[in-house]
């Protein structure tokens, strides 16, 4: 049976793509007939398996790490479809293995949702892991932030060779300390004190900004984001200064790039940092994460927002004057059914933009904006109609869409009618 697994998986993959089915279906089937399939395929890799997890930034960070390592000559396997459940990994594997079940790769870089990562590390131990942050997200699935932190702790425990941790996240620092006491190797990425104000944790959102710790009581960072100006970004890597332009936009995405640099340096200590930085300069945003489209004379920016911290950072990074903005809020299972999170985001940054709302919870969003005295120009539940009027509007050539996950997928699909869109799922 197990010998047949690759063939069965590949057949289902072809069939489901013909029928426009979901990216995880072949993985789901293979998981059912052969639960050890994923571990079996990945255990063969010489550089082992690397897990990237945390609430925000998994997809962007994974994409950058893959690009950094590939540029250094490694053959990298990844679940690049943003399908970050185990069956998503299985689906990606089915596409890449040969019929003997052999994967032609040196290393696997996997983006895993926190809950699935816990199951995954029971199947096989990652050599390295990168833990990005713990934010309030999907509480309808996980219940509490502390529960999510416990899940990340499980990943760290299972990791054999090295753990990379965001030193600005107090819950992760605790996990790092606990693992360090057990003799594990911990490395950190971080941000200069003066930039920390942009990364207000959920514990601090109701505190005054000036109370936030800007001191230097944190462990030394292997990769540090030291400054961002309009055109340039400065990093300190291994205490050496590097400066570069980036195509990736948004403070949070640039911080994800910092995390990616730290991880790449640990996996390949022999790689020259300047080469990694040169590659980073070429990296483009991951799909729907500040992704930019050109439609006629207008630019359209697609920004995924999933939770309060992510939405706050997105507004901090992308909101600007005279932009035409569409906010698309769905409440499917993948988005989270609870709308409470919208009330932990401050929308004042949109006060000089022309804002419309769409999605299954367009009216919830409209009420939220009303409470921040942001005028809503149009409420249209139906996303295709709302997108059409955004694109045909001539009031601004700078257009932005802030959207939840399923809204983002729908909008990317619809955008194919207007411009070229890279197929990712």
């Amino acid at each position: 049976m197990i010998k047949l697994t690759p063939l069965i998986g590949k057949t289902i993959r072809v069939l489901s793509r013909i029928h426009g089915g979901g990216s995880a279906l072949p993985g789901l089937v293979v998981e059912k007939i052969d639960p050890n399939f994923v571990a079996h395929c990945l255990n063969q890799l010489p550089y082992g398996v690397v897990v990237i997890s945390g609430t925000n930034g998994k997809t962007t960070t994974t994409k950058i790490v893959v690009e950094l390592l590939t540029s250094q000559g490694l053959k990298v396997f990844t679940n690049k479809s943003g399908s970050n459940f185990i069956r998503g990994v299985a689906s990606s594997l089915i596409a890449d293995i040969d019929l003997q079940g052999k994967l032609d790769a040196d290393i696997a870089i996997l983006e895993l949702d926190e809950a699935h990562a816990v199951h995954f590390v029971k199947l096989l131990s990652p050599k390295y892991c990168l833990l990005l942050n713990v934010m309030r997200d999907q509480l309808d699935r996980f219940g509490e932030i502390d529960t999510t932190a416990d899940m990340l702790s499980e990943i760290a425990k299972a990791t054999t060779n090295g753990i990379v941790i965001n030193r600005e996240d107090p819950r992760l620092l605790k996990i790092g300390d606990a693992q360090a006491q057990k003799g594990k190797s911990i490395q950190y990425f971080g941000i200069e004190g003066s930039l920390r104000k942009y990364f207000v944790s959920d514990d601090d959102i109701h505190e005054k900004i000036n109370k936030i710790n800007t001191g230097s009581d944190r462990p030394e960072a292997l990769a540090l984001l030291s400054s961002i100006s309009k055109s340039r970004v400065d990093f300190m890597i291994n205490k050496k200064h590097f400066s570069t332009d980036l195509q990736i936009s948004g403070i949070h995405n640039i911080y994800n790039a910092t995390a990616a640099l730290a991880l790449a340096k640990i996996i390949m200590p022999e790689a020259k940092t300047s080469n990694l930085i040169n590659q980073l300069a070429k990296s483009r945003p991951a799909f729907g994460r500040g992704e930019m489209f050109k439609i006629g004379d207008s630019s359209l920016e697609l920004v995924l927002v999933k939770n309060p911290a992510g939405f706050r950072l997105a507004l901090e990074s992308y909101a600007g004057n005279k932009k035409q903005v569409l906010v698309a809020i769905n409440d499917s299972y993948a988005d989270g059914r609870d709308m409470s999170w919208l009330w932990d985001v401050d929308f004042l940054a949109l006060q000089n933009s022309a804002v419309s709302v769409t999605g299954s919870r367009a009216y919830d969003m409209a009420i939220r904006l009303e409470h921040d005295s942001i005028e809503v120009q149009n409420i249209e539940i139906h996303i295709p109609k709302a997108l059409k009027s955004l694109i045909s509007s001539t009031s601004s050539t700078q257009k932005q869409i802030y959207c939840t996950y399923t809204a983002m997928l729908e909008i990317r699909r619809l955008l194919q009618k207007y411009t070229s869109v890279e197929r990712v799922l």
Binding site: L139, S340, D364, I367, H371
Partner: protein, 240 residues
């Protein structure tokens, strides 16, 4: 004491702020202004001085760890809260503080938490997390909509009346279809969403009850709730 000032006491915004309960404070402020009042919000965290002027008290949900962090201080200010409640001050407690406003919260494994006896309710940790959209019918406020996310199961004593009866969702516990509690001018509920923005009748009741104690002639203004009505209708139709 200015007649049109509305002093809102927001309890423990630092540690009991999960699930968007800050929206309840925003909703009271927003609506109070529409009624011609001047809302003044006082945030109260552990160790702060308890304010002298309080017209409305709002307390939100939190993680188990947040509840433990505020518990001692909550007992420190319990007599002040009792005094406010006894004098008719309207109070809204959501989720975590709703549980602690009762007699006790019996947790699993951890130490039990003794409540401040403002509400005649008891809560016991259940082994399942109750999450999803809720629609409930209240005699006072009509249909209530919200989102529940809790594992504690609450039962009412003789002095507390249910706030509403659940039509969709679970509410206080898996047995009796009750959602929330009413006692004096206190409302306790498990509903987030945030609760008040989509249940303006409750917001107006809190405001009117508060302000009429200072100004018996106060009348609520007519507010156009078309948007809120749409949001409520959609919420009622969404899957659990």
């Amino acid at each position: 004491m200015k007649k049109n000032e509305l002093h809102i006491l927001h309890l423990y915004p630092r540690d009991m702020n999960i699930y968007g309960d800050n929206g309840n404070v925003l909703a009271i402020e927003h609506r109070a202004r529409k009624h011609g009042l001047q809302p003044i919000v006082r945030k109260y965290n552990q160790g702060d001085r308890f304010p002298r002027q309080v017209d409305i008290v709002i307390g939100g949900g939190g993680q188990d760890s947040g509840q433990l962090k505020v518990l001692d201080d909550l007992h420190r200010i319990a007599s002040k809260l009792h005094k406010l409640a006894d004098s008719g001050t309207p109070i809204l407690f959501v989720c975590g503080l709703y549980q602690l406003a009762g007699h006790e919260f019996v947790t699993q494994g951890q130490k039990n938490m003794k409540g401040i006896d403002l509400l005649d309710i008891k809560t016991k940790a259940g082994d399942q997390r109750l999450t999803g959209n809720v629609v409930a019918t209240s005699r006072e406020f009509g249909q209530l909509v919200g989102y529940e996310n809790h594992s504690g199961q609450t039962t009412l004593g003789d002095y507390a009346a249910p706030l509403a009866t659940v039509i969709k969702g679970v509410g206080n516990n898996i047995h009796d279809k009750h959602e929330g509690a009413r006692q004096q001018n206190i409302i306790g509920t498990y509903l987030h969403g945030s609760f008040l923005p989509k249940n303006p009748k409750v917001t107006d009741w809190l405001i009117a009850t508060a302000i009429q104690r200072k100004n018996p002639d106060f009348k609520l203004a007519a507010i156009d709730d078309a948007l809120v009505e749409q949001a409520r209708l959609i919420t009622m139709k969404r899957p659990r």
